[in-house]
């Protein structure tokens, strides 16, 4: 087990090295580069030259790359052009929001997706099944931002049930020691703040959950359909086991194996989807910061974000493999 983890983490090194070369080369290859991003409309040739010498952009490329790498190893990506604050600090400040949103979306996707997929499989060919299959197809195809605007229009603007933007009512001036707003309310004993944070979470989480939800429904359905036709299920039925026991011990446990993999992979999708969702809901996580960074050519932020996402991806994949081993003894043996 330990060797497995070490081996997977060691794999990070070549991945990150390759990525760092790409990220570095990409920023330098763009016309203008950092100096123009800093100065904008006010750029004069003299100001550009001064900034470039000040930032060391006039030195040889390999030297610049080594400097970039040296800083990146220490998780120092420089200061964000948007805010003038260190990128690492900005990421740390915003990651709780994104994690909170991704977990909420995953919760919806799993809590609704698995039962719905199971139901569709057991009622194969009925209207429930058709609804689940069509619905999940649409869930994958509707663009997130379109769904987000529609959700806001109906539930926030027209019905007024939920807020349109942000993570909390700014008038409340609640304390946020951890940055996870729902948790913060509980920690500080301010349950109104938690409730407020949950209300702000619902619409963005719904929008963000649309793709994972659809995928989980389809995989669960397919997987359950597969398992119920296995010999061991027929054997269990022949033995006269209660239907509930068969479902729990034999069908669900085996059907969950591919679903686990998919849930793990969807975590990565959630982080990517958060870029759009957070932007549309002004939800101040890393996704929104990245989206604004792209528009404003905030290179340090983009570089930092992509590296962090890469690390998260690799680590999640590793965890998925570990969980897989727990669920399926066959994997452990091999």
């Amino acid at each position: 087990m330990l060797r497995f983890i070490v081996r997977r983490l060691a794999l990070l090194v070549p991945i990150l090295l390759g990525l760092s070369v790409l990220l570095f080369a990409w920023v330098r290859a763009l016309p203008g580069g950092p100096a123009y991003a800093l100065l904008g409309e006010r750029a004069t040739p003299e100001a550009i030259a001064a900034i470039e010498s000040q930032l060391g952009l006039d030195r040889p490329l390999w030297e610049q790359y080594l400097q970039f790498l040296g800083r990146a190893v220490r998780l120092d990506f420089g200061a964000s052009i948007q805010t003038g604050q260190p990128v690492t600090e900005e990421m740390l400040r915003r990651f709780p929001a994104t994690i909170e949103l991704a977990l909420a979306a995953l919760l919806i996707a799993v809590a609704v997706g698995i039962p719905l997929g199971y139901l569709a499989a057991r009622r194969y060919g009925t209207w429930i099944d058709n609804l689940a299959v069509t619905g999940s197809l649409l869930g994958v195809t509707i663009p997130i931002f379109f769904l987000a605007y529609m959700l806001k229009y109906v539930f926030a603007v027209e019905l007024g049930w939920l807020p349109t933007a942000g993570r909390a009512d700014p008038r409340a001036r609640a304390d946020h020691p951890t940055g996870f707003y729902v948790l913060d309310g509980i920690v500080t004993g301010n349950l109104d703040a938690s409730w407020d944070a949950i209300q702000h979470l619902i619409l963005p989480a719904l929008a963000l959950s649309s793709i994972p939800l659809a995928v989980i429904v389809r995989i669960t359905r397919a997987s359950v359909l597969n398992v119920v036709n296995e010999d061991y299920v027929r054997t269990a039925e022949a033995k006269g086991l209660l239907p509930g026991t068969i479902t729990r011990r034999h069908v669900l446990k085996n059907a969950m194996l591919p679903v686990t993999t998919v849930i793990g992979l969807q975590l990565g999708v959630l982080l990517a989807g958060a870029v759009l969702t957070e932007k549309v809901f002004a939800f101040s996580g890393v996704g929104q910061f990245m989206a604004d960074g792209l528009v404003q050519r905030d290179f340090p932020t983009i570089q930092g974000f992509i590296l962090v996402i890469a690390i998260v991806y690799v680590v999640i994949n590793m965890i998925v493999d570990l969980v897989y081993g727990l669920l399926d003894p066959r994997v452990r043996v091999s």
């Binding site: 016309p31 900034i51 809901f281």
Partner: protein
């Protein structure tokens, strides 16, 4: 396909509704969707929530030139001279009155008595000079063009020139605290634009104690600059009608009324700035009552805003959009070609089709609200036949031109660059030009190609006034050589330099009018629009006074209820 999409929307919404009912449990009591501000409960604080497009960079006024930082800073700090709200007229601010010596080198400011900073420190001449000396003694990265843009625009250089780009000389000589309430500013050369410049928020007088305690360091961090000082983010103390309370980056920045304010007390108890980067999200937040105002309204949304009972506020047009010519190209050195283009463009037609109401055709490179505007210039007439004639007379045979316009951007003077391009390209093709479109993203590509490398042939660009002085418009474009215009006309440059040095207001005005005539006759490009930027303000808000230079006093705002 279309049917499927629609069905999917209904499905998704139905599914979402089901979840919502479950999640909300039918309890609507905590609904923060309703704006509680000024709903008439009497005891409720009056809170004005502004939906900004992004966070300020810092509240250290000396370091900023972007609109979102300036907006917040303008409520917290004050300058020696101020603007009459809604105009560009200079009126007393922290200085009740001032005298200018006949040679234009000495400004004596008589300061307001009994003013205190938000941290309790007294406001006096020493505090004023502390701030001026701080700016003048900026070093290293503080001298970078994106940090101290306005100081360099108004005063030029610093005590030492640390960067290649630092202006070699400074107009600033010294500041003397002659007595408790008299501050004397000594210049090394007269600058007639000084007072108009001093109204800008970057010349805000901040509490010296807060500056020293908070720290104002700027560090080189990788490829960019990091504002590491605590002044402007943790410690903030000015003299303005509102004082800093808290700033949760990405979420909200809160100010509250300064009860010790020397002037008339504001009606609002609290101002909150909420960054909502997406324009459609800002519109929805306004419609849901979560914010009370935002800037950057799309012309297409005006109907939706007004039908919701909210107001669309027009800011006076203090900008200019123009079609520039790269005059170093041989074809543009032919005067007849420049004249032909000026008559080929149907500018009124473009404005009718692609601009909101209130946009006016420009015939000079500065707006009519700015003194120095030459009233006697009538503007180039739209006359395609004359344009064809001029082209024939010019003797040019190769009439192919690259026409550059920026992609994915909306500027105050140009909400939709592509629409401008399409309209003008059609006009030019109608008189015989062959137009090759060239488009790249606004920043950094477009600005670099046009302003840096002078690659444009025909190009779209514009300017929004930083402060109310003609030098900020025509001086910016034509006082020195600029790569994008690619020409050097001694007569025009001479007039503009003379106008900047002149201290007599009437003589200055005459010089700028003359310069505008000379520019108009030369035709280095064709100005086509002064556009009015639009703001959306909630129906229950009164007293939102739009400012031509985008400096709006929130202490005039009240909430009806």
């Amino acid at each position: 396909m279309r049917v499927h999409r629609k069905a999917g929307r209904v499905l998704a919404l139905t599914a979402a509704a089901g979840l919502l009912v479950a999640a909300c449990g039918g309890d609507d009591s905590g609904g923060s969707g309703d704006s509680g501000s000024g709903n008439g409960d009497g005891g409720d604080p009056k809170t004005f929530i502004f939906g900004s497009s992004e966070d300020p960079k810092t509240l250290d006024a000396a370091y900023v030139s972007d609109g979102e930082s300036l907006r917040v800073i303008y409520q917290v700090y004050e300058t020696l001279v101020a603007l009459e709200p809604g105009t560009t007229e200079v009126v007393p601010g922290l200085a009740e009155e001032w005298e200018i010596s006949p040679d234009g080198l000495t400004y004596t400011f008589h300061l307001r008595e009994g003013v205190t900073f938000h941290d309790g420190e007294p406001f006096n001449a020493e505090a004023v000079c502390f701030n001026f000396d701080r700016w003048y003694n900026f070093t290293g990265p503080q001298q970078s063009g994106d940090v101290s843009y306005y100081w360099q625009t108004v005063f030029g250089g610093f005590a030492t020139a640390d960067l290649e780009s630092s202006p070699p000389t400074s107009r600033y000589g010294s500041c003397d605290a002659t007595d408790e309430l008299t501050a004397t500013l000594n210049l090394t050369e007269p600058s007639s634009a000084l007072l108009a410049g001093l109204v800008l928020p970057p010349f805000s007088i901040a509490s010296p104690k807060a500056i020293e305690e908070g720290g104002t360091d700027i560090e080189q961090a990788g490829d960019s600059l990091s504002y590491t000082g605590g002044f402007g983010s943790e410690v903030v103390a000015g003299t303005g009608p509102f004082k800093f309370v808290s700033w949760e980056r990405g979420e909200s920045l809160t100010l509250e009324r300064n009860d010790d304010y020397w002037g008339e007390a504001p009606a609002l108890d609290e101002i909150i700035f909420r960054p909502i980067p997406d324009p459609t999200a800002r519109l929805q937040a306004l419609q849901a009552g979560e914010i009370d105002a935002y800037e950057g309204v799309n012309a297409a949304d005006i109907g939706a805003i007004e039908s919701n009972g909210d107001q669309v506020v027009e800011r006076p047009a203090f900008n200019v959009g123009y079609v520039g010519f790269n005059n170093k190209l041989p074809i543009f050195q032919n005067e007849k070609i420049r004249q032909a283009i000026s008559h080929a463009l149907n500018r009124q037609g473009l404005l009718d089709a692609a601009y909101p109401e209130g946009a006016v055709v420009a015939n000079q490179f500065l707006p009519p609200e700015q003194w120095g505007y030459n009233q006697s210039i009538e503007g180039y007439e739209y006359d395609p036949d004359l344009a064809r004639q001029l082209i024939a007379d010019s003797g040019e045979t190769n009439l192919t031109l690259e026409f550059w316009y920026p992609a994915d951007v909306s500027r105050p003077y140009m909400p939709d660059p592509q629409a401008v391009y399409e309209s003008f390209a059609a006009d030019l093709q109608a008189v015989g030009f062959t137009i090759v479109p060239k488009t790249v993203p606004w920043t950094p590509d477009y600005l670099q190609n046009i302003q840096g490398d002078g690659l444009g042939q025909l190009f779209l660009l514009g300017w929004t006034g930083d402060y109310a002085d003609p030098d900020n418009f025509v001086g910016t474009f034509f006082r020195q050589d600029r790569p994008e215009f690619g020409f050097s006309d001694p007569a025009i440059q001479g007039l503009l330099n003379e106008a900047l040095a002149e201290t007599d207001q009437a003589a200055r005005q005459a010089l700028y009018e003359e310069a505008n005539q000379a520019i108009y006759d030369y035709i280095p490009g064709v100005p086509f629009v002064h556009n009015q930027p639009l703001l959306a303000v909630a129906g229950h808000i009164t007293g939102y006074t739009p400012s031509p230079v985008s400096l709006e006093d929130f202490d005039l705002i009240d909430i009806e209820g």
